[in-house]
Amino acid sequence: MSAKAGADLHILEARSLSKRFGRVQALSGVDLQIHAGSVLALLGDNGAGKSTLVKIVSGVHRPDTGDLLLDGSRLNISSPRDASAAGIETVYQDLALCENLNVTQNLFLGRERRSPGNAIRRMFLDRRSMEAEAEKAFDILGTRIPSLAAPISALSGGQRQAVAIARAIVWQSRLVMFDEPTAALGVEQTENVHRLIRRLRDRGVGVLLITHNMVDVFALADRVIVLRQGRRVSEMDPRKCTPDDVVSAITGSERAGERSP
């Protein structure tokens, strides 16, 4: 994957996504483009519809109306499996790791590699190739792991985060979505997550970052999109605005720096 090569190409485009839960219109007509090698921050108050959008793209929910386009062609995602097959990975806040399994097993969970060869050999795991791949992923992330055979329960919080993110590298994901990755973290671990996200971005991965944390936004984002009550109300460039501008776009108090879509 050539880093930055296609920085201006968008990988994923969402066209007028809408989703309704009973009486709640969680999303209405949201457009979105995610570019290779850049970080898009998706902001909004509680209940603005951010997680709903992530869940649609990751195959947990289906949109009522609207389309997803991958590299310009329509994409049908009806399960988490479809999303990962399309190169879309989601890093959940709870990381979704199995603590009893080891690092390699977690990286390849649900998509284990089988030994090459005849039908009998193909029934069995190809541990060596998975471990080699896992090792490469941690090299890329620059994270030290005591051992690939170590169960997740033996890892520190930061190392666990690295494991969850290394999945995206192992799978050569093109788009990685983070739903509030730093919400429960201290300063040091937040910085660690920033570092890992930058590594992904530098490899040409498109990143969608949901956060309530202005530090995340101004440390990482190339673009900011703000949702309010399911509508996209604003798009901003963090290099050209202040945290106050962003906050007022989120809360809806009219201030300078807000541009209507």
Binding site: P80, E99, S153, A154
Partner: protein
């Protein structure tokens, strides 16, 4: 300190893998088969001193046959324990399938191989019902299989009907399962190929240079030779009596297949993933409901087979076949073997060795003329010991994780 040391120079991101991995695991509280092997050694030594008959070929031959029913059931039980479920009905299922077998054979004259297959299929279907109830309704397996225990026990007694006592079976195949011994040459061949395979395995690994250094090589050799050495000892001892029982071979093959499935296939990883964090497994695209259904079904199929072994040993079945402490012993065997009742942790070989511990205690206490009550108490104490070891190890696991978090 920052746990995320950035790589310096040529320092590899992942520490080299070798015997150190194994020691590391122990320090994390992953004790593997060590506790159960220690327990087995301990009971062997104690009974050796307590009774001069204990280590005779004749008694050890008996012991291997006695452990068959429990061993088969413990293998199945491990599967559901691995996913954090439990099957309290395994004893009743083994009983009802035993009755089904003898009725099919003795009452309806169905040939042995077919009757055995049908009985196992009945077990699989019963397990399928349990699994469906657990996954579709979301009822705890504890309750579902407690219900199963009562229902299938009732069914078993109804099938025995008015006949007082036992229903006999005289199908040669069924009877031969637990009463045939392998000819000398066959057992020699099997033992030799086990040893040969382990050696080839070691040499192949060495060539891959994964296990660098003499210590790494010896460590690998030691671990790979555990079961071949066990096979040699068993073979040498049992050849002095009637030979190696076919039942032991069946048990070994079952354990081998289940070990391969649980430890070396993607499905096996999924089993432990579901046991560890079902939600994470689901998000990784694993069909959790289907997996649970398969495991409940396999557990009950193995329970049925244990019932068949019981019939083969007694030449009969009755309303009490599969009853008593059997199901609790099977759970205890798995736990003594290192299987966690919380799911996600355990090994097939451990459960087999755990069954061997329980079987040995029962056999040894029989030799000493002790009552069933004493057996029950001692087995309970061993279980307590196993659970305590697991709890201490669990604390370690939690602490080793929290230390850096």
């Amino acid at each position: 300190m920052n746990p995320q040391r950035v790589r310096k120079g040529s320092e590899p991101a992942v520490a080299p893998k070798s015997i150190q991995d194994w020691l590391l695991k122990i320090s994390y509280g992953e004790l593997g088969l060590l506790p159960v092997l220690a327990a087995l050694m301990a009971v062997l030594i104690v009974f050796n001193f307590a009774s001069p008959y204990f280590l005779t070929p004749r008694n050890l031959s008996n012991l291997t046959l006695q452990v068959g029913v429990l061993g088969v059931m413990a293998l199945g039980m491990s599967l559901v324990l691995f996913i954090g479920e439990i099957d309290l009905s395994a004893g009743s299922v083994s009983g009802v399938c035993a009755i089904i077998l003898v009725l099919l054979s003795s009452r309806f004259g169905i040939p042995g191989i077919l009757a055995v297959s049908l009985a196992i299929l009945c077990g699989a279907a019963i397990g399928g019902i349990h699994g469906k109830l657990v996954t579709a309704i979301g009822a705890p397996s504890f309750i579902v299989t407690l219900t199963g225990l009562l229902v299938w026990q009732g069914a078993q007694r109804m099938l025995v009907g008015n006949q007082i006592g036992q229903i006999l079976i005289n199908d040669p195949l069924v009877i031969s399962i637990a009463s045939t011994f392998m000819p000398f040459w066959l057992s020699l061949l099997i033992v030799a190929s086990t040893v040969g395979y382990a050696l080839v395995f070691c040499i192949r690994r060495w060539k891959l240079k994964q296990h660098a250094g003499t210590a790494g090589k010896l460590g690998l050799l030691g671990r790979s030779m555990l079961f071949p050495i066990l096979a040699i000892v068993i073979f040498l001892v049992l050849s002095n009596h009637l030979g190696v029982p076919v039942l032991l071979l069946i048990l070994a093959i079952l354990a081998l297949v289940l070990t391969l499935v649980t430890e070396h296939t993607p499905f096996g990883v999924h089993i432990f993933a579901v046991g560890g964090n079902a939600e994470a497994a689901r998000r990784a695209g694993i069909n959790v409901a289907r997996l649970k259904l398969i495991l409940f079904s396999s557990c009950s199929a193995l329970a049925a087979f244990s019932g068949i072994v019981a019939v083969s040993r007694q030449y009969a079945a009755d309303g009490n076949t599969g009853g008593g402490n059997l199901v609790l012993d099977a759970i205890a065997a798995a736990v003594i073997g290192g299987t966690s009742l919380f799911g996600g942790r355990g090994r097939i070989q451990g459960s087999l060795l755990g069954a061997l511990v329980i079987g040995t205690v029962a056999n040894g206490l029989d030799l000493l003329g002790q009552s069933a009550n004493v057996k029950s108490i001692i087995t309970g104490l061993i279980l307590l010991g196993a659970v305590s070891v697991d709890m201490v190890a669990r604390q370690r696991r939690i602490r080793s994780g929290a230390a850096g978090a």
